[in-house]
Subunit: 190 residues, 2 copies
Amino acid sequence: MDNLLKYIRSLTSFSDGSWELLQPVLTKKEFKKNELLLRQGQVCNSLFYIDNGYCKSYYEIDGVVKNTGFFFENEIATNINSFGNGQKSEFNIVACEPLTTIIFNKDKLFKTAQQANEIETLGRNCIRLFATKQEEFSTLFKLYSAQERLEYLETKHPEILQRVSLSQLASFLGVARETLSRIRKRRVLG
Amino acid sequence: MDNLLKYIRSLTSFSDGSWELLQPVLTKKEFKKNELLLRQGQVCNSLFYIDNGYCKSYYEIDGVVKNTGFFFENEIATNINSFGNGQKSEFNIVACEPLTTIIFNKDKLFKTAQQANEIETLGRNCIRLFATKQEEFSTLFKLYSAQERLEYLETKHPEILQRVSLSQLASFLGVARETLSRIRKRRVLG
DNA sequence: ATAATTATGTGACGTTTATCACAGGTCTGA
DNA sequence: TCAGACCTGTGATAAACGTCACATAATTAT
């Protein structure tokens, strides 16, 4: 839980009392590699704080897997639309490595947040980080070519390239696996 | 202000008292067509509730304009990263029509939110909607081709196609103006 | 250890897209 | 009403990309 508390305090002022109040909201849960955190069609009632390992969100369309996001240590993974609106999730979240998470239960979180303003503020800041990340990657496709998107990741998010295989990265960058292989080759040579 | 109050109450329960408390946070402001709401390099200290008209966010790179978002009535426009972290904005927001907005002042909003939990909750829900929208459009590029992205807008967001010109839409869809023109022709015929 | 699975690289080929150039249409302000 | 600005369409051509096929690592499971 130490990592989580540090994470929270990097976002917002958080008293020891708020941390105590938050405890009943939290559950530690481990996932094996390839185990699902969220299944398509389910409603997402959790925020998953990633304590160790990483996971990804993906759509499965006509039997083809398309990765839409990767979530590493000290990030929150969730389906923000499903979590907020109670709608069924259109995508899955799966552990890519053995994964340690701390789960925020939605109902308990909302009830506790009504009692403690610091917890409400924490929720706002978690969502804000999520929105910032989404905006960042959404913009990439409008501004840059596939090669430029790869270069962006190399400079701004090298951890993704270090931990995610080329095949997994391809659909996230919006190109075919073979194309990404060739882009990478061009860059190593040129 | 009527539209704003309806908008707020569609998001969260909001007492008359909270609405009174919120008033000093709000300023009504009108923009002429092509007037900037936010300029690249500035820090964004506002949430712009769109009461009437629409605006867009755009990057200007090597003299070329790339549109990254459109914001219509009953939406909040802002730079979520700049607003939340106090960093300089990397893009502009400009009125595409004569525009009526209601501006939330950041400092006043934060101070008022500490006093009234309903206002803090409102802030969280505004950001949540923003995150949901970003995620939606981010996913489009990973799942669909340019033609499929256009079809998605036709079914899910027809208001964009009705009000935004083809030239303006092209960079938002991540294709050249000429390509979008040809895609549209293919679709009308086929 | 070995078989099976998964990941990567590469060639061939067809499709899609970007870019440049230019023509005609529409809107708008002086 | 007329000039300038913007918008849309279209042809030609080159570049980028997707798909299929197959070979070769590298990893994983038994």
